[in-house]
Subunit: 262 residues, 2 copies
């Protein structure tokens, strides 16, 4: 399980200001902190970037790759911003991501082929709603894979995000338990060793006491790890969660156990 | 997932002295602390009790049930001690436990029928060795269930302990991952909603840094919870592990999520 930092977000006002002023330093400080905290890949969540999308995403990618060789996830719904980022990226790059939404199939998915990158597919309906149960998630996975295959990319380029349900949703925890089964069943269903990613912070979206949110995060992450999750997108400044993730890796990896790996 | 304290052990010198002097107070202090820390059942691990087994186990059970109505697990390999405990127990009682070892089949298992109690069956070979993989564990489960059925007790009286492998064993972590699959498969294999129990401290038996041991415990417990573990036998004084267990319960329970349950 690879740890992907979700910390570099345009919703962070320091990052937003840095982007608006094209000042790479705050972005680079953030990335260095993420790496120090245990990030093994960096999600660049630029938001939709309604003004100067190309310039801003290119700036972000350049700023980040000046300080790290880690893989980058380009996280935007704006195809123009995405393509500008892909065009300048020298690190391993993953598009984050597409879904069955027609505009994403038309304008995001083809960029994976054009730039020969991995791409994350979300298990969402074409209208971006979250499927309510395991059967529906698996059904969407089949449709998503079918759309993906039309690009001609190798199957292994597809990474699936089952979309963690917030626990505060009516049947959120039930969905989150079903997601574990989705993760276990995807390889058999699609016929190849499907990589998967999940955004851990989704679990505790909304109001709630911080300490309990962290506890839920630290409790759900091992469940995901045991179900075979390939990449965890998380706030790497949540130290206990990162330590838990490492302990999970020591348990789930096929390597010989050593305390150094915990 | 019910939390069973493993704290009341004859290997604890305070408890050993209390038993030798037939002084209930230190035993009761320990039990009260366990209840306060979150224990929902109390394992009374008396050891084999080579001298005065009946008297000592009866003393322990009487001492404990004087301060709690929680279910008791009578944890001894000595059939005489076990029977003496069963004879005086007024709380819900679970025998912990039997295996395919001939002496246990002959002298422990029949006591479950005689006293109409739940009984824990260990997935161990007749020579008490640990089966090396999932297929062998499931094979032992079938044999154990078959032996259990001969008592005429209801299936639901059987609780299975898959025997967690210490991570320091050559293939310990691999076995521990397979145990998750064992837990998931037991109900289908045996044809009823099999309850299960696991001794969490087994995971980190042996030398190792305490903080990392706790991290492993906190990481493996959610995996067990997601696999459907019914009862976790653990040191309830490991506060973070108990908090993790509660968070797991909030995630895995079918109840509507509330922060109060975390």
């Amino acid at each position: 399980m690879i740890l992907v930092s979700d910390n570099l977000q345009i919703t962070n006002s320091t990052i937003e200001q840095a982007v608006n002023r094209m000042n790479p330093e705050p972005v680079q400080e953030m990335v260095k902190k993420c790496v120090k905290a245990g990030a093994e890949a960096i999600d660049i969540n630029s938001g939709p970037l309604s003004r100067d999308p190309e310039k801003k995403m290119a700036f972000l990618v350049e700023a980040v790759q000046a300080v790290t060789n880690l893989p980058l996830l380009l996280d935007t719904t704006n195809p123009k911003a995405l393509e500008a980022g892909l065009a300048v990226s020298r690190n391993t790059t993953i598009i984050n991501g597409f879904s069955l939404e027609p505009v994403k199939l038309a304008h995001i998915l083809p960029l994976a082929k054009k730039y020969d990158t991995d791409i994350i597919g979300y298990l969402l309906y074409p209208n971006s709603h979250v499927p309510p149960d395991e059967a529906e998630r698996l059904g969407v996975a089949v449709e998503l894979f079918s759309a993906f295959q039309k690009t001609g990319l190798e199957n292994e380029r597809l990474i699936i995000d089952p979309i963690i349900a917030p626990v505060m949703w009516d049947n959120g925890t039930l969905q989150d338990m079903e997601i574990l089964s989705v993760l276990r069943n995807l390889p058999d269903l699609l016929g190849f060793p499907v990589r998967t990613i999940a955004g851990i912070s989704n679990l505790t979206t909304g109001q709630g006491p911080t300490k309990k949110k962290r506890l839920l995060e630290q409790s759900y992450l091992p469940m995901l790890a045991a179900a075979g999750l390939s990449m965890a997108l998380l706030n790497v400044f949540h130290t206990e969660t990162v330590l838990t993730a490492r302990a999970c890796r020591a348990l789930t990896d096929t390597k010989i156990f050593t305390w150094e790996n915990v």
